[in-house]
């Protein structure tokens, strides 16, 4: 954590994974897409605590991935409601939880091009607990209005939509998303950060209570699981992340 936290014995990544694990809650199946080491840590932490439940599918993994029917099986599963939690990010995310994974500027002549929408334009609609995750919390990433809607945060009443965003986790705070009000509300501010800073670095309007709680740090139990069994499992898919985050932190803080 930052220098304001002299007694910090955990890293940002560990705090964020713990925050996500709490949001995952008591569910049956969590799937994690590409390039998502912190959500993967959270899913494996939830499984370690639940003695094998939820089922966790890390899409890049050979060991922690039980799909045998090709790339479509994930989406077929999700379409039937067999995936309870999934994670998405965005080059831009706006105050109505629209996400942009495509480009900045005019679509035909963009200034910046991102990889593309992946499965977002489907999974965002059908997975009940869709957790948005973006470590960089800035006015560049959290914008008033996205340039391109890869997937919309909410839909008209007649559009089939059993799922959608429930929260946005950043390096500074946790927002909850209210699908009826179509707005984020500040749920907690991570240790070492404050509300003024969140307002300064957020490009969209959001609700907040008079007293915003501080995010509860990870427990010793959570840290031990992450640095032990979870780190070992994670190393298959994210060797560098597992080594730098858990190798280093366990050496410093035990």
């Amino acid at each position: 954590m930052s220098a304001v936290q002299p007694e910090a014995t955990f890293r940002d990544e560990e705090l964020l994974a713990e925050v996500i694990a709490r949001i995952i809650g008591d569910v049956r199946h969590v799937a994690v897409g590409n390039a998502s080491p912190i959500p993967a840590t959270a899913a494996l932490l939830a499984r370690a605590r639940g003695n094998g439940l939820p089922y966790v599918s890390l899409l890049q993994s050979r060991k922690h991935n039980f799909f045998t029917d090709g790339g479509r099986e994930l989406f077929d599963c999700a379409g039937q409601g067999r995936i309870d939690v999934f994670f998405l990010s965005g080059g831009e995310i706006d105050g109505e939880a629209n996400i942009n994974l495509v480009s900045i500027g005019d679509y035909a002549h963009p200034k910046v091009r991102f990889p593309g929408s992946f499965g977002s334009a489907y999974l965002y609609y059908v997975v009940p607990k869709l957790i948005l995750f973006r470590t960089e919390h800035s006015r560049r990433t959290l914008v008033p209005k996205v340039s391109f809607i890869s997937a919309p945060g909410t839909s008209a009443d007649n559009v089939y939509r059993p799922g959608g965003p429930i929260a946005l986790v950043t390096n500074r705070c946790l927002f909850n998303f209210d699908r009826v009000r179509r707005r984020f509300s500040l749920a907690s501010v991570h240790p070492g950060h404050n509300v003024e800073e969140i307002i300064e670095h957020t490009g969209f309007e959001f609700d907040r209570p008079d007293d915003v709680p501080t995010t509860i740090p990870p427990s010793q139990e959570a840290l031990q699981l992450m640095r032990g069994v979870v780190a070992l499992q994670l190393a298959e898919v994210y060797p560098q992340f597992a080594a730098t985050v858990f190798g280093a932190s366990s050496a410093h803080s035990r």
Binding site: N34, A35, Q60, R62, T68, D69, G70, G71, R72, E73, F75, G79, L101, V102, S103, Y107, A108, H109, P110, K111, V112, R113, F114, P115, G116, S117, F118, G119, S120, A121, Y122, L123, Y124, Y125, V126, F148, I149, S150, A151, P152, S155, A156, N158, V159, Y160, Q240
Partner: protein, 269 residues
């Protein structure tokens, strides 16, 4: 049926609709380099449902006119530089999609059906930029809009697999989308790591993961054929090489050097 690599690639003609698989299914990179050496042009490239080095390389080498996929990225090595540059310069036509839409459009083709419905998508700008996709009112529902995707029937599917037998049967294991691609495409071209002695369909365990030779137009041996990408379960990606690619491909000059060194000069072994 087993041919030299260059001959096996003959069905992939200029301007054809070519389907290629995602990275975890094994990407035919030796074949891709051979296509670039041959100077294939104006491809309508469909990556099911995403791509990495392969699309970036084909785009950078000027082989692609239209790209249809859900994402192109070098993963932990960052954005795909030639893809991004081509989009920003407007030098290729991009048909942005989302993964399950491509899977569904291939499934329509493999069934011989004209279209497939898919949930999601409504309200996404992807749909706004796809005039070929339609929204209808679900005829079995009541005021329930749903997207229809036309069948996507490739002229050629190009895939790589661990092994094949002399009858042209190809063992794909659990990479089932390779079967979907072959079922959907008019022709399928396959490169394999090695030949299997005997007939893959004789062993029920192997037969379950086998794509019958019936679907295959041409077959070539290409040991280490996914290099520098991985063939999952067989060999890992060459991370050092991919880092070098990302560094060189960041500029047109560097990319030209990469082509000279690794594509036009044939690698030993």
């Amino acid at each position: 049926m087993i041919k030299p690599l260059e001959d096996a690639l003959a069905p992939i003609t200029d301007g054809c609709l070519l389907a290629v698989p995602r990275e975890v299914a094994g990407v035919p990179m030796a074949a891709t380099r051979a296509l670039i050496r041959r100077g294939v042009k104006r491809l309508h490239l469909v990556a099911l449902p995403t791509s990495s080095l392969q699309a970036d390389l084909l785009i950078g080498a000027g082989c692609v006119e239209t790209l249809e996929t859900s994402a192109v990225s070098l993963g932990e090595f960052g954005l795909a530089p030639r893809f991004s540059a081509a989009i920003i310069a407007g030098s290729i036509t991009m048909k942005d999609a989302t993964c399950p839409a491509l899977h569904a459009a291939f499934q329509a083709a493999e069934k011989g059906e004209p279209f497939m419905p898919l949930r999601g998508l409504i309200g996404s700008d992807i749909l706004k930029h796809r005039p070929d996709w339609r929204v209808i009112d679900n005829p079995f529902g009541n005021d329930d809009p749903i997207v229809l995707l036309p069948a996507l029937k490739p002229d050629v599917a190009l895939i790589h697999a661990p092994m094949a037998d002399r009858a042209g049967n190809v063992w794909i294991g659990r990479q089932r989308e390779l079967a979907t691609m072959a079922h959907a495409a008019t022709k399928t071209v396959v490169t394999v790591e090695k030949l299997h002695d005997g007939n893959l369909l004789d062993d029920p365990v192997l037969a379950a993961g086998t794509l019958p030779g019936f679907y295959i137009a041409a077959l070539a041996l290409a040991p280490n054929g996914c290099w520098p990408l991985s063939l999952p379960d067989y060999y890992p990606a060459d991370l050092e090489h991919l880092a070098e690619y990302a560094r060189l491909a960041a500029t047109p000059e560097g990319f030209a050097r990469y082509l000279e060194q690794y594509v036009h000069e044939r690698r030993a072994a």
